[in-house]
Structure formats: C-alpha cells, structure tokens
C-alpha cells in the first residue's frame, strides 16, 4: 500500500515535472509553426523571434528532392498551429502529410503567393514553360517577397504578435537586401560582366537574374543522379555548342561527373549551395546565401573578359 502510494506520488511528481513546462508554454500562448525546407526555417525563425516556435517537419539530413513521408513526421504535424510551405513544387509531399495527419485542416501559409514564378529548367522543364521553377528561395528578392507574405499571414493567425512579425520581417529583409548590395558593390567598375552560363541543377535562375545573368543551358539529367556516359557526352557537346563561359554546379553533387565535364570542356566551374543540408538554423540562409553570392561575384570577376 505504502509502496503503491509512493509510486503514485512519484508518478504524479514525474508527470508534473514533465508536463508543467509544456503547460507554461501553452499558457504563454506560443504558437508552433511548421516548415519543410531549410530556408523557410531561417525565414520563419527571424520573423517570429522568440514569440513562436519553428518546427521542421523533416528531420535535418533528409534530401527534400527524395524525401518520402514517415509516420513520425506526419505525427508531428498534429502539434502545429500552422505550416509554411514553398507550395510551388519543392515540398509537394507536405500536402499528403497534412491530409494524413490528425489536423487535415491545418492552416497553410503559401510563401510564394506574391513571388512571380519563373519557368522550370532542366529535367523539370516541360509543357512549354507551364511548369514553375520552385527554387524561388535561392535568391534575395524571392526571399524578401516570401518573408513579407509569411509575416503577413502568420500575423493573421497570431494577431497578438502581428506587429512584431511585420517589424522583424522588415529588419530581416533589410539585412538580406544588404547582402545583395554588398555583392553587387564588389562588381562596381568591373565593366561588362555578362556571361554565358550553364548550371548543373535548374535551381539558380532566380539568383542569376538578380545579377543580370541568364542561364543558357541546364545540363542536369536528373537531380542528384549520376548520368550515363551517353548523357555525359551529350552534356559536354551542348556546352561546347553554346560556347558556355562558366558552369555553376552544386555543393554535394557527385564530383566525378562534374570533374569530367570540367576536364573535357575546360570551362570554369563554381559551386552553389542549394541550402538543403545541415542543421536548421536561423542564420543558415544568410550564411549560405552570402557564400553563394561571393561565389557568383568571384565567377563574374574571374571569367568576364
């Protein structure tokens, strides 16, 4: 009897200890906003600050291009107040996950609602430009437009913090714009920096357009998949035909393939980050975009005539 009572007390104390912090958080009214991709973690974390929690529904380390929903990830959706989605093709798995979750009517923030979409490039391009390029997050303007949309919509869902979200979004957007201004500043006096560009993955059109560059060719057979020798030979022939001056590859891409292209064509090759690796962090987007723009500026300065 005594033992069982003690056990009951122990259980009660353990439960109280475990439950109380969660209860306090709920009392404080901190909303939980889900995200699917790394850049969106950075956006939402900078918008909400410590007024809400940002919850990645895919654990770090999964490639969003090849992700298949797992039961534990679907379960996590049940604890959210809303979810922020790319919504134009990079996280289409989320719709199925939300439908299968305990909250099929979870409010969804379509981050790209105000972004003018570009046509998909490379292996995803079909139906005469109808398919949209989902990589709007790999650019400054695309990100600033999304940050404004996310802040506005999260403010609607959490009116008590709406003003703070708008103010934070503006501060963050200014920092992002400054990154681009700094990069462009390094090109001042460099003369004509127009280049004929090829990319290995059709993800960087949004970024390159901000620098007045156009992608002449996307030479990716399929994202992250090693091409066959015939495809490789065709890729090399295409680059020679288009007289490409610079190739942008991707960090974490199969290096033997990229190295063969570089060796056979003799074209300069640089690598961008797709911002889909590593731990989720508020500063990740700024850190990796700074590196991307440094790479771009370096390429423009080294390759321009």
């Amino acid at each position: 009897m005594t033992i069982s009572l003690n056990r009951r007390r122990f259980l009660a104390a353990t439960l109280a200890a475990g439950v109380l912090p969660a209860g306090t958080a709920a009392a404080a009214g901190r909303k939980r906003f889900g995200i699917t991709l790394h850049p969106y973690y950075s956006y939402v974390a900078n918008i909400v600050g410590d007024r809400a929690e940002v919850v990645p529904i895919i654990p770090a380390g999964f490639n969003p291009h090849a992700y298949e929903p797992r039961p534990e990830d679907i379960q996590r959706i049940g604890s959210l107040d809303a979810i922020v989605l790319n919504g134009i093709g990079h996280d289409d798995f989320a719709g199925r996950m939300i439908a299968a979750s305990s909250k099929p009517k979870l409010p969804v923030v379509e981050a790209n609602a105000d972004v003018p979409p570009l046509p998909a490039a490379g292996s995803a391009a079909r139906a005469s430009g109808k398919v949209v390029n989902p990589h709007s997050f790999l650019s400054i303007t695309g990100s600033v437009l999304q940050v404004a949309t996310i802040a506005r919509e999260l403010g609607r869902l959490d009116p008590a913090n709406a003003e703070a979200y708008t103010a934070n979004a503006r501060t963050y957007s200014r920092r992002l714009r400054q990154l681009r201004a700094d990069a462009l500043g390094k090109l001042a006096g460099a003369g004509d920096t127009r280049l004929r560009v090829a990319t290995i993955h059709g993800a960087y059109d949004y970024l390159l357009r901000e620098f007045g560059l156009e992608v002449s060719a996307v030479v990716e057979p399929a994202h992250g998949i090693e091409p066959s020798p015939a495809q490789l030979a065709e890729t090399i022939a295409t680059m020679r035909r288009l007289d490409v001056q610079v190739i942008f590859s991707e960090l974490n891409f199969p290096s033997a393939y990229v190295e063969t292209i570089r060796r056979e064509t003799g074209i300069r090759l640089y690598s961008f980050s797709h911002i889909s690796h590593g731990d989720y962090a508020a500063a990740q987007f700024e850190r990796e975009m700074t590196r991307n723009m440094d790479t771009l500026v370096q390429a423009m300065l080294e390759t321009a005539p």
């Binding site: 134009i88 093709g89 990079h90 289409d92 790209n112 609602a113 105000d114 972004v115 003018p116 979409p117 570009l118 046509p119 998909a120 995803a124 139906a127 005469s128 430009g129 109808k130 398919v131 949209v132 989902p134 650019s139 303007t141 695309g142 600033v144 437009l145 404004a148 503006r170 957007s173 714009r177 400054q178 681009r180 201004a181 462009l184 500043g185 090109l187 001042a188 460099a190 004509d192 920096t193 127009r194 059109d205 949004y206 357009r209 901000e210 620098f211 007045g212 560059l213 156009e214």
Partner: protein, 197 residues
Amino acid sequence: MHHQIVRRAGAERETLWVLLAAGLILATATAAVGLRPAPDAEAALAPHRIDSRTALTAAEQGLHADLKMAAAEIAALRKAAGISNGRSPSPAELAAQALPPFAADASAAARGGHAWTLVESGGTVAYAGLSADPGTAGSLVLLLDGDDHGDGGGDYHGPAIWLKRAAEAPPARLDEASLAAAGWKRITSTFTAGVTR
C-alpha cells in the same frame, strides 16, 4: 445412330472472347479519355496583359520581381513617414538606400540601364523607368496604388507593374485604359503547374 460433333482441339473461341474483351476495354478507355479531356489551357490573357513567366526576357523577369519587392518597401517607408497619399521617396533616395532596381549597380547596368523618374497623375503615384537597351529589357512603370480588377487572372496582391518595349517617354496618364491605349502591357503572374502537380 448417334452422332456427336467433336470440335478439333484449339483455342479459337477463347481467343475470340479474349479479343472481344480486349476490344471492349480499349473502346471504353478511348471513350472515357475522349469524353474527359484535360482542362483547356488557362484562359487567354487580355490583350493589354503580358505573362511574367513566358513572355518576358530574363532581365525583365528580374526587374519585375525587384519592383514588387520595392513596392512593399516604398509603402513601408511612406507609412513610417506618416504619408498615405503625400510625397513619395524619389528614385534617387531609393537608390541611396541600395534598393533594387533603383540602385545604380552592376545589375542595373546589365539589365537595361533604366532611368527612373517619379510620375504623378490623377492622384496616382508611379515610378517610370525608361530603358537604355530595349533589346535587353523594355521600359517599366510601377503603380503604387494599383489594384486588380480580376479581368486577367492572377496577381491579385500588390502593385501594378506595366511594360512597354519601345517607350520613349513615361506615360502621361496612369489609369489602366490610358496605359493600355498607349501600348503599355500589365505584367501578370500565374501558377499553372508544379513539378509534380
């Protein structure tokens, strides 16, 4: 005398039935596909509209996105200064803040070298950028107080941005009818299909 006709060994009847069944399935499938065609391409755009994804040059696409971003920043600047319908920041002030596309940077030079001016007409404020290189990008007009009447589909949020490839001067009048009559086209963005949907 008892007669019995014995069919010779063979699968003619079965083959016939299988072929008939296959033919029936094919006919049903053809009829179903014929009767349920994919929805037609989205309604054609009004003549004074232009699609941002398929009809703009790369430079124009970059400028269009930058103008959408700038419009939000300009609205915030006006709000912060307590101006609702009063003075708007000049293009030079915006350039000083390194706000694209007004900033005179390497990107502006590579995308048509636009010369921006503030235009006001009939209570509407607009920023007009005349292109120095219409082959790269046409001239653009950003209408701050633009609203969409929903006649062309899409782009219901935010400012109105108009394009004219061969513009020699900023538009004199800023209402939709006058802009359309002067050969300007409103840029429209739509989502038609994703990579998987």
